[in-house]
Amino acid sequence: MTPDSAIILSPGTPDGRGPRSSLHSAGAPFMDRAFRWVIFSALGIGVLTLGVLLAYVTIKGWPRLNLALIANMPSIRFPERAGAQSAITGTLWVVACTALFAIPTGILAALYLEEFARPRSRFQRLVEINIQNLAAVPSIVYGILGLGLFVRALALGQSVIAAALTLGLLVLPIVIIATREALRAVPRSIRDGSLALGATEWQTAYRQTLPAAIPGIATGVILAISRAVGEAAPLLLIGAVAFITFNPDGVLSGYTTLPIQIFNWTKDSREEFQILASATIVLLLVVLLALNFTAIWIRNRTQRRW
């Protein structure tokens, strides 16, 4: 069979998505071209929204994108001098504690489900459906849980640790789902080889499977962290709304975070505060975009073929 006849027999493109354009698009009737444009513009509207949003907040926040934004504390009376320092340090405290709780718990849970649980056992299925559901529970409901459980029942009050535990439970499904997918991509033969050499199940998981899955896990962890950085709704319920002009000095300290500070400034109708809110949004988005691009970069760099 000549290469040419092979192409005619199999009109799929190399990635298997439809006919070769050369065979097809030359005489594509009007309806087909119109349809292609319609669905492309559906995608375009999403991208356009993103562009307009980024341009708007950057232009609006430009006058206040200066060092005072980072160096100064919030102020109700002097918007032109107010800054977001307490929100920046508060975000760092809360997100660091969230990560310390959610990352190990999520990775260990995923290890159990992929490597130790009896496959297709009732428990495994229950946990699986449960995690899928938890990933889609509205974030404000986690706020109610945090209010009832951490703030009031465990009497942690409106503290960094109450916020971190609440956000930790919120991002746990993201870490677990990403880690499970990364572990599943590690071929069976690596585990079998390790077990055949006499390693125990835990030694196999810890020294072979887990290291091979690190890039996938890292991507999921970064996405979970960026979710925690941007989350505001649950924190409204568990006490981040207070006017805070100090940096947290421990896990039981009061706090505010960047999204909450943005929310508070947005509520104030004075124009200076809208500008301040825009500038803080730019700061927040820069952090999130950096996290996002790191995740995408890791994913593209490390796509390993086994």
Binding site: L108, V127, I140, V141, E231, A277, L284
Partner: protein, 307 residues
């Protein structure tokens, strides 16, 4: 220790591996955290909700049309909050479902691998924007710059801007989930369609979308669930006035923005208003839980068909 084992040694396990069992127990405990979270949510919602219903009859709550918890003779009829939620969700869904499906179809069937590798991360960035930022955008740009020119009598806080921006926020989710479903359709089905002379559009609409339908519907359901549960956009841009209205140019309060506004205040633990947060939260959780389960079922079905 280093001597070779006796060839006649039994292959049955020798001493029990206590360390392995301890580790396995720790891992099990970590996995159990997720189950305990669900229990924690249900219990922390249920107990105050039951206390709430000892004072407010269930039917008055579910069918009442007055939501005035701050009045001396407060009324707790949840329908104004439900209607506000449904109006804004409807606007969001009308935006997100066609655009999300179109974007997913383009990514799955039309985009070159190179275009896909650029467009998908862009959509992921859109999906990763914090909701409070979308709220600010809805209030300060969509309402104040655009909508006031189109509708001069629009209120500062209105359902339309919140719904439109929420729709844009949900596009990436619907696009990504429906693309997953369409990419899972076997190439053979497309080839068969082309062999019968169908064009790419006819194949997309007549073969790929029907074959991926359960996954696409799952994406829609999850998108609706996301819209119902979204809090910050409506809190910032849609106002805090409970209103039985279908006019999107007016402000309205949703279930989520009531919870956020009431919870942010410093309510005493025993008060009826404090408990009403949990009752509304329970209704919200029940609605989204039902939709999530439908969506999970549908996804399982399309996975089974094509594996």
């Amino acid at each position: 220790m280093n001597s070779l084992p006796n060839p006649g040694v039994s292959l049955a396990r020798g001493r029990p591996r206590y360390g392995e069992r301890v580790i396995s127990g720790i891992l099990l405990a970590a996995a159990a955290v997720s189950i305990l979270t669900t229990f924690g949510i249900v219990i922390s919602l249920l107990v105050p909700t039951i206390e709430f219903f000892t004072e407010v009859p269930v039917l008055d709550f579910l069918l009442g049309t007055q939501w005035t918890p701050l009045f001396a003779d407060g009324q707790f009829g949840v329908l104004p909050l439900v209607s506000g939620t449904l109006v804004i969700t409807t606007i969001a869904v009308v935006v997100a479902i066609p655009l999300g499906l179109g974007a997913g179809l383009y990514l799955s069937e039309y985009a070159s691998p190179r275009a896909r590798s650029l467009l998908k991360p862009t959509l992921e960035v859109l999906a990763g924007i914090p909701t409070v930022v979308f709220g600010f955008f809805a209030l300060e740009f969509v309402t104040s710059v655009i909508l006031v020119k189109v509708f001069p009598d629009i209120e500062v806080f209105n359902a339309l801007s919140a719904g439109l921006v929420m729709g844009a926020m949900i596009i990436p989710m619907v696009a990504s989930l429906s693309e997953d479903a369409m990419s899972a359709v076997p190439v053979g089905l497309r080839d068969g369609s082309y062999a019968l002379g169908a064009s790419k559009r006819q194949t997309s609409l007549g073969v790929v979308i029907p074959a991926a339908l359960s996954g696409i519907v799952a994406a829609f359901v999850l998108g609706i669930s996301r819209a119902i549960g979204e809090t910050m956009i409506v809190t910032v841009a849609a106002g805090l006035e409970p209103r039985m209205s279908v006019n999107p140019l007016e402000g309205m309060q949703t279930m989520t923005s009531y919870i956020a506004a009431a919870g942010a205040g410093d309510l005493s633990t025993g008060s009826l208003e404090y408990r009403s947060i949990f009752a509304v939260g329970f209704l919200l959780f029940a609605m989204t839980f039902a939709m999530n389960m439908v969506s999970i079922r549908l996804v399982r079905r399309f996975r089974q068909v094509y594996q």
